[in-house]
């Protein structure tokens, strides 16, 4: 089995299944915070998938997307946290 096949037939499916598992938490909640955490993890795992996919397709360009994903995933979390606190203040 080559590196290529290993990544494609083992790593990528395992990462995908991880995403599915995380998605279950997203659906379950129960609080918004839980979903935000799940979302954050979902994105982080996405970076992993992208990295593996870039090897698989031999396209380093895809790593740039991983870079942006890493940057912005943070923003979503921050925004939700910002919201949670604001809501707390307003209520």
């Amino acid at each position: 089995m080559s590196v290529y096949d290993y990544l494609y037939y083992i790593i990528l499916p395992v990462l995908s299944i991880s995403i599915l598992i995380i998605f279950i938490r997203f659906l379950m909640g129960p609080r918004l915070s839980d979903r935000v955490v799940a979302l954050d993890l979902l994105l982080t795992t996405g970076i992993g998938i992208i990295a593996v996919y870039s090897i698989h397709t031999n396209q380093p360009a895809f790593l740039d997307i991983a870079m942006i994903l890493a940057l912005i995933a943070f923003l979503g979390t921050v925004a939700f946290a910002y919201y949670l606190e604001k809501r707390e203040k307003n209520d």
Binding site: L71, Y82, E85
Partner: protein
Amino acid sequence: MKTIIFKTASTYLLPLLVLFSIFILLRGHYLPGGGFVGGLIASIAFVIHSFANGIDQTKSIIKFHPGFLMPIGLAIALMSGAAPLFIGESFMTGLWFEEPFSVIGMVGSALFFDTGVYLVVIGVTLTIIFTISETL
């Protein structure tokens, strides 16, 4: 949101992200990226900063209303598009310097155009988000 951790982190993230956004802008002609995504990243940098430090502080860093980036950016894009009209060629005809510049590569009207896009996107995003934050 007054947390030291976030505040400190945002102070360091801001220049880093802006730098990164320029990088994304400049390489757009060759690799994924370009003015639009670049502009978004730059504005995200400022947004993060404003979340951590409050709008006023972020505004005082930028020193002018980000909305003014919109006409500036539009003007740059318009100029780079309209310049060929003055030599009797069609709008948006590419004009290029003969030799590539180091780092940036070929410099031509497309790059100016993309820079216009970059500025507009920053102006737009920040105007929207700052306005919303201010009128919450």
